[in-house]
Symmetry: C2
Subunit: 400 residues, 2 copies
């Protein structure tokens, strides 16, 4: 086994071969049993068996353990790509933070570091930080970057899918920066970029609350309101990269001005921006969303009320989005979702009220499930890692 | 060639064979050149050539003419399935009409008949009518129904995708009727059913304004407001069959009651229902939407104003939907769309105003195109024919 072989097995040209399909599936999904691989790739069990023998002989695929496969209680060996076969880097360029995760191709996280910054930090400063964090992560693991498969970048704002250029309305100082051009000199590996919400969707379907789902909605409630649309296992990007920008549907044309320039956007009502100011005023000190959630969970009435109101407003927006898609699953993401039932209960009640299809009118199989995210942040940086694991070798098709 | 062979070539099991892929593509798309078939199926030109020779030898595929293939000006022979290989029936169960179209598998319409009815017509009455219209269509063409490939049914309202049962909120007397059970005794062929808007989407991508597009939105402005979402060439149906019900997104929670039971739905503002009453009052006589469109186009100021207002309200709703999807293409359907620029101009202006991504901020390739439908009605009955042509042999996957 060598790394060049892994890259060639992940290339589009290898998709027609059983080995290519198995390797791509393991890269996207992490660990799987032979039976699960057969179901997922559609290959015959005999083909799976022969190909896995060869992939194990060359050490491309390794055993990771035994797990119960489904409900029948028969234990099965689970397999992953060899952790030594390659690494991926995920970078989050957030409103006031930089996060860097290094993981290997067996989906094991090797390093996860976050640095808080002032909101107007410069791309140059961020780049220096990222370079340092990555060097540190690899040296601590005694690994070289030779096996780097790709770099995924999650950005707190819209990204043009063709040019990878950061668009207006996201992280202030990054507007107009081409992520490919900016980061290319640093890495000898493909760079894939998408907005934070789309990356969160990849994290949810790979490791989170949407595992096994090919069609679902991510709905993010935080200082902004956003989301993502997943259809047939693909995150929809939109003709200008703005699909899933749920925060900017206009609720009231005569409402307050939104930071996007329109009036009365959903975000004006359902983001936690003004609620946070109210909490700070009432409690007399500076607070983060996470503080408000913690205080609410320990019984603070002001914080509980503010989260309930955010749930009600968020549910109205979700009702609107639900009526458009009638989705089978909605994953509620963002830091507000960590409040659990304090948020979810008013949100689901309000969602139900503003939905076209009422829960009581349809059988359980036709009801929309609304569940909180599996991540305590929004998982976007893990999603940036997933962007590489799922799309390596398909970089060109992503860019168009 | 015989008909059993056509059905077997359209079955899922034949999808792995070059002949199966070519026949399915021709069934879905109508006529194509060999070069187009190669691009579309991904098969090698040599495979296309060998397989087409065999399909032409058995008379399954026939030449239909010569056309210019693309911009290079080189003429190419176009091919279709043999018109004698089979027929399809499309049935529209509308609010106050029944329409029946019979077409052959080369996409030629053999018969197209519409009967106007009172809105509370019974399913039994409709069934008798449908039976008569179909018998007449076949006898006029000197054809038997032996080669009937399938029956597509478009319904003016939501249909449960699993049970094919007509849901609340559509054609009054049909609520609760299972279309499979109701029509199965009449035909010895599979029955496929979907709502009117989803069928319109199939018509637009097969014969209309969305030809060649795999991702687009249909937005219907008529006595109701509706639409459809097409992603990756598939019409999204939603967990309860209610995807694309754009008319029932709640615009104002304190607004007037909607027929769906919620308040302030988009349909209350953007459908032509109340506008039609206003037109009738001002002009002192009973009118259909088509009358109002005709009067507006010949200069009547009242009718022009009412269509302009419908465009403005419709554009606001479309802005909302556009912000959710950021689609590359929107096809505006329904009888209001036949008013052309009288509707489209205020609609596009209002869409632009309520959209997150402004036209001036992005290059032309990243702009959303909003175009009127190619059909003077909404094309739903043709779409029901397309439902069969595109999905024959996949009936089971459609039903789940």
């Amino acid at each position: 086994m060598n790394r060049i072989e892994l890259k060639s097995l992940l290339a589009d040209s290898a998709l027609g071969t059983p080995a290519g399909r198995i390797v791509r599936t393991l890269s996207a999904r992490g660990s799987m049993s032979a039976a699960q691989l057969a179901r997922h790739t559609g290959l015959a069990k005999s083909t799976i068996s022969t190909t896995l023998s060869e992939l194990r002989r060359t050490n491309m695929v390794v055993e990771t353990g035994i797990e119960l496969d489904g409900g029948v209680g028969r234990p099965a060996t689970t397999l992953t790509l060899n952790p030594e076969a390659g690494t991926c880097i995920g970078i989050l360029i957030g409103q006031s933070e930089i996060q860097v995760i290094v993981a290997d191709v067996s989906h094991r996280v090797l390093s996860d570091q976050t640095v808080q910054l002032e909101p107007d930090y410069s791309p140059e400063h961020a780049t220096d930080l990222v370079r340092g964090l990555i060097a540190e992560a690899y040296s601590q693991q005694w690994r070289s970057q030779d096996g780097l498969l790709g770099v995924g970048i999650a950005v707190g704002g819209p990204v043009n899918p063709v040019t990878s250029r950061v668009m207006r309305g996201g992280v202030p100082k990054w507007t107009g920066v081409s992520l490919h051009e900016h980061f290319a000199p640093m890495f000898e590996a493909p760079i894939l970029a998408d907005n934070e919400s789309n990356c969160s969707a990849i994290a949810e379907m790979t490791w989170g609350a949407a595992q096994g789902h090919e069609d679902f909605i991510v709905y993010t409630l935080d200082m902004g309101v956003g989301g993502a649309i997943v259809s047939g296992g693909n995150v929809l990007r939109g003709v200008a990269g703005a699909a899933g920008e749920f925060g900017h549907v206009v609720i009231d044309p005569h409402g307050p001005l939104c930071r996007c320039g329109n009036r009365g956007c959903l975000e004006v009502y359902a983001s936690f921006r003004t609620a946070l100011v109210e909490a700070e005023t009432e409690l007399g000190r500076r607070l983060h969303i996470t503080d408000v959630v913690r205080l609410a969970m320990s019984g603070d009435e002001t914080c509980r009320r503010l989260i309930r109101q955010a749930g009600e407003a968020g549910g109205r927006g979700l009702g609107l989005i639900g009526s458009v898609f009638n989705p089978s699953l909605v994953v509620v993401s963002g830091r507000l979702a960590t409040a659990g039932d304090l948020l979810m209960q008013p949100l689901i009640e309000s969602f139900e009220r503003f939905s076209l299809v009422k829960r009581e009118d349809v059988p359980p199989s036709a009801q929309t499930r609304v569940v909180p995210s599996a991540f305590t942040d929004n998982g976007a940086c893990m999603g940036a890692v997933g962007l590489v694991l799922r799309n390596h070798g398909q970089a060109l098709s992503l860019a168009h």
